[in-house]
Amino acid sequence: MTVPSATAIAPAPSRYWRRCAWLLALLITVKAMYMAFFLTPPGDLPDESGHYSYVRDIAHGKFFPLLGEATIPRNLWFEPPPSQSQTGQEMDLVAEEAAPTPSTRVRGAPRPNYIVQHPPVYYAIAAVPYAISERLTEDRWYQVRAARTVSAVSLGLLVIVLFGTLTDLGVAPLRALPLAAAVGFIPTISHLASGITNDIFLFLLCALATRHLARYLMAQRLPDAYLCALWLTLAGGTKMTAWPLIAGYLAVLLFEMRQPLRRWFLHAGGLSLLAMALPLWWAARNIRHFGNPMQVNVVTNQPLYLNYSVLDYLKAHPYFDWMMVHSYGLIGFAGFCQTPERIEDCVGVKSTRIGNQAFEFALWALVILAVVMLAHTVYHYARQFRVQPPASPASLQGWTAHLLSPGWLRTPVLLVLGATGMLMYVWGYQNVHREGELGWLINTVLLSAAPIALLGLGIALFDDRGERRFAYYGMALFLCYGLLIAYQSHKAYVLISELRGVQGRYFYPYIPALLAAAGLALERLRIPAVLTLWLGLGLAWGEMHSYITQVIPFFELVRI
């Protein structure tokens, strides 16, 4: 096999744009830091107590706490009430310590920490600022905030990485800047970036892997492939939700690798080993301790519903609505349990969902992006019926395009992909549960992933441009993962009769590729840059509006 000339990576943006991107990223970091220090109540992110406890365990030399043994200590966030307290209220709290009451159970007794089911990379990194703060001060206020800084810095770096990915793909900086910054203006993302959780750090690692995958597909430089594998293994060592992404990206790397046969096998082995190193280590550790490579804390009771399919589930429940609303704005968790005066209210989760004008703006922005991406996809899908394969294929992708050359072999493949995508959309639109006035819009946006991804798969298989194939590999992986998450949510519903796992944050590993695909479509269709500018401005306003009108009053209620 010979190595053909590859697509060139677009030249780096000018110094002016790089400075703007860094400044914007700095502002977004400052915002997340401010929220981490002064706004987000301790414990008010999903399972923040467990994440924080994991960080503390590592900082105190426990490599690594074991599921089933690790606990969340009593009074994690605030100082325990002094034994000789001055105020009557504090006396009451001490009295509660002696007699087991509901509040004592919540505040006093150690709880099992099921968060240690996550691999440890994020926690090991967050333990560094935490350990430093512990040596500098005994004040827990600072220690908590020190651990929170990792997420805040990750969000700023994420903006830079996304901007770099978009400009590498040839998206003009004018469009790339607001698109990259948009992730920093989603309330849920800002909220998560202000706390101790592995989601934003994972988002950053997956964005780095995505950038190097894009660069590799365009320029075929092996260092990019290895860097992609490196970031993938770190992502896999951060959260298991990245494992399907590792499988997908690794498959793309091998499918696209243009090397002579011997070198192909050599690098395929090297890349696979590197990309799967940390997940394999974690799986081996799980096997050693639990006999199950993917040991997690899950409900194990008998199913409450029998013969209840995923389709029944999607028809009957507002899964799509929850997914969209929670992706945009789901704020809060159990911060109210960390205020001594509110301890009696500590039952379950208290959160607020943002469904205001800002959410509607974001939804309409997604509709516009979906329409643009669909137009771009249909145009290039139609081209694939006549795009000639490379004369001398040098990769599995090239061979696939060569074997299924335009004509009676390629046409049925493309028609089946197109028909499946369109049928999925039509079936979904007619049958999936529609919640509220905006239900049809939410369903339109989410279901449009099916035709874009499946028509796009035809582009990924046959197109002659690396950046386009990259964009549609990403879409196809996004669709596969979306179906997997829907299936998992259905499984949880069958077991406990509750909608669980309906969280946009589970999709963060796939968002960088999705955003890159959207940016590419905007660029290639020459959509005026002012549209992306208004999108960025609207999202930035919407986030501030949501915080001032809803989130801060909610936190005030939580914290007193």
Partner: protein, 223 residues
């Protein structure tokens, strides 16, 4: 040659403009953080009718029957406030003054308000510094709305509607058939939350300005 300011000056100037606009839009909302409702459920605004213009000689009494609050004990020691639903007749220019008095436990406090400050169909907040929520809770309390020097055609009005568990208002010595529309609040220290809101507003102004200025100057700067 046309003079151009350095980009950083443009950025900060536009950020200042954005901040001014956001401040005008959200300041009132932020100030209201200090008012915490005593009940989760707000007053009923359905089937409402006007109290009539609060002109000179107008008197309306509303017995309060606050027997329960959703606030935790510590917050019941904050200053008691009411939010009266009022109307200024579609933003008409009104004149004169009226008073809102609260009496409970043998004490009373009168607050004078200007008709021109009343906004249309919005809660007019009145705080009684001499009363804490616990002074009113479970007490035989009473609100009195009295016109001082308002003239017909140039005065504001309150609203009446059936309120579950609340006795009818008494207007001019006669039962009005419905209760005054109002919500009860305490005034808490919300300064940290207000500071947070202003801080976010400053950051948002800088972000908005940066994107706007960069996008406008970008193509020129890139050349």
């Amino acid at each position: 040659m046309k003079h151009r300011h350095p980009l950083i000056i443009q950025w900060l100037a536009v950020a200042g403009l954005f901040f001014f606009i956001l401040f005008v839009l959200y300041h009132e909302q932020i100030v209201r953080y200090q008012y915490k409702p005593t009940h989760v459920a707000p007053a009923n605004w359905i089937d409402r009718q006007l109290t009539g213009e609060i002109v000179a000689g107008f008197v309306l009494e509303q017995p309060l029957a606050l027997t329960h609050t959703d606030l935790p004990p510590r917050e019941r020691r904050h200053v008691f406030c009411i939010g009266l639903l009022m109307s200024n007749y579609l933003n008409r220019r009104n004149h004169g003054e009226f008073t809102v008095a609260l009496s409970a436990g043998g004490r009373a406090q009168v607050k004078a308000l200007r008709a021109r400050d009343v906004r249309d169909n919005a809660l007019q907040m009145v705080c009684f510094d001499e009363f804490r929520l616990i002074d009113v809770l479970g007490q035989d309390a009473r609100l009195t709305l009295m016109g001082l020097d308002g003239r017909p055609g140039r005065s504001v009005t309150g609203w009446l509607s059936p309120q579950p568990g609340l006795p009818s208002a008494i207007r001019g010595g006669e039962p009005a058939g419905a209760a005054l529309v109002f919500d009860t609040f305490v005034r808490a220290n919300s300064a940290p939350f207000q500071h947070n809101a202003y801080a976010l507003m400053i950051i948002a102004s800088l972000v908005l300005s940066l994107m706007a200025v960069a996008s406008r100057a970008g193509p020129r700067a890139a050349r």
